[in-house]
Amino acid sequence: MSMKSSTRQVDGVTIVDLSGRITLGEGSVVLRDTVRDLLSKGQKKILLNLGDVNYIDSSGIGELVSAFTTAKNQGGELKLLNLTKKVHDLLQITKLYTVFDVKEDEAAGVKSFSK
């Protein structure tokens, strides 16, 4: 199953709703292209909604790190929203859970971005 991505704007924050798998190949490319496209358009407050992402492999983890770093290097902020247990556990064992800013509530997540 491939990954789907759609974006919406809420109070100046771009929420990216992802669903499917972020794995080597198509899924990782979709995530990379989506984030780079947003940054190039000046949309630098990005909330990645992973609520419907049911699988991430090491390549997908690498893409999340890359997206986080790319946004930060361009003066943006990228946060994660609605982690499934599988994704949560993966970020825990790779010690990345505390690196990412992880939100469980969309409204609070949107408000957490700097104005």
Binding site: G62, S66, L90, V99
Partner: protein, 148 residues
């Protein structure tokens, strides 16, 4: 249950990675692992297959990946072999080290070791073999070893 072994010879493609993962998922479920363990086993196999296809065989159409599953009463044993130059596992950096935490790659073998009970990496000049074992929960062999 008697030993049950099946093996596949696969091309060095992304499709092989997906097939290996799906086959591992099916074999693990048939061996009696719960959903969480099935996910871990299939992800370990996926990561080993990625390693074989990308880093071992480098997508070379002339090189194959072999994948073998063996079920015993005690274990599910999975072996993945490539035809690359041989992986030097000692040179793989620790992905949990502070300097490596934000790297975008290098977590595959760490995940394999995290998810499987036994992981042996056997490199040679003709390729690298990953031998991964997951102990079957509540297996007959354990019962035999239980104190009387």
């Amino acid at each position: 249950m008697s030993a049950d072994r099946v093996s596949y010879t696969l091309d060095s493609t992304l499709e092989t990675v997906n097939n290996a993962e799906e086959t591992a998922s099916r074999m693990a479920a048939e061996a009696g692992f719960d959903d969480e363990e099935v996910m871990k086993i299939s992800m370990a196999v996926r990561e080993a297959a990625v390693n074989a296809v990308l880093h071992g065989n480098a997508y070379d159409p002339n090189k194959k990946v072999t994948l073998a599953f063996e079920r015993t009463p005690r274990d599910l044993v999975i072996v993945i072999r490539d035809q690359g130059k041989g992986l030097d596992a000692s040179k793989i950096p620790d992905p949990l080290a502070p300097d490596n935490l934000m790297k975008t790659s290098g977590r595959g073998i760490f995940l394999i070791r995290s998810f499987m009970d036994v992981v042996e990496i056997h490199p040679s000049h003709t390729g690298t073999e990953f031998r991964m074992i997951k102990h079957v929960p509540g297996n007959a062999a354990d019962s035999k070893e239980a104190p009387q």
